[in-house]
């Protein structure tokens, strides 16, 4: 069956531009997570969705970061006025609440 998909796979942007990253979770998974992984680092939690609501946004690094989820399915992570320190791989995962998380392939964001 289809796994978690993310698009684009790679995104190169200029400092100050806005970017949108998309995640399509596994059908039926009510929980959706966004993580950020910098080179050689662990996974930094950004935000969690249960259905369309985001009860935990505590990991968002700044108010330039926002995310939404519609129809209990697709999620978009938006980064406004990108900075070089935003360069990382952004991973999306979905799960059935506190069970194993299924990760997508990630979006590699490079801010020049």
């Amino acid at each position: 069956g289809a796994g978690v998909s993310q698009s684009p796979s790679n995104k190169v942007t200029e400092k100050g531009k806005d970017v949108e990253l998309r995640c399509d979770p596994i059908s039926g998974h009510t929980a959706l997570y966004w993580y950020r992984q910098s080179l050689g680092q662990g996974l930094e939690f950004l935000i969690y969705f249960q259905g369309n609501s985001a009860p935990d946004k505590s990991g968002l690094p700044s108010d330039r970061f926002s995310a939404e989820r519609t129809g209990g399915s697709v999620s978009t992570l938006t980064i406004q006025r990108t900075q070089q320190e935003d360069s990382a791989v952004y991973l999306c995962a979905s799960s059935l609440v506190v069970h194993e998380q299924f990760f997508g392939p990630g979006t590699r964001l490079t801010v020049l």
Partner: protein
């Protein structure tokens, strides 16, 4: 907040040698999960441990959850080149959703 420490950060072994990575949480965990990330890939779930003192095996991999549910280990017997990758532990502190990931242990295997 909850912190999960993982050691070592890197481990290089000769094929056939054993490997162990250790995970320690600053708080008691409800459960702990282990993930493997191959180079260039994304994390893939390996196992979840729930009970105090639990030991689970998957072929050459042995996972343990400490009695106090604050630490865990992953041991690989007789490593193979296919074991190469970063192994992450991820602790759940009692919420019904949030995992705190360790920084991972990068395993390289010399054939």
């Amino acid at each position: 907040g909850q912190q999960v420490m993982q050691i070592p950060q890197y481990q290089h072994v000769q094929e056939g040698e054993d490997f162990t990575t250790y995970c320690n949480s600053s708080t008691t965990l409800s459960n702990i999960q282990w993930y493997k990330q191959r180079p260039g890939g994304h994390p893939v779930f390996l196992i979840q441990l729930v009970k105090s003192g639990e030991v689970k095996k998957q072929k050459r991999l042995t996972f343990q959850f400490g009695e106090a549910k604050k630490n865990s280990s992953l041991h690989i017997t007789a490593t193979q080149t296919t074991d190469v990758g970063t192994y992450f532990c991820a602790g759940n502190g009692g919420s019904n959703y949030k995992l705190t990931f360790g920084k991972g242990t990068l395993l390289t295997v010399n054939p």
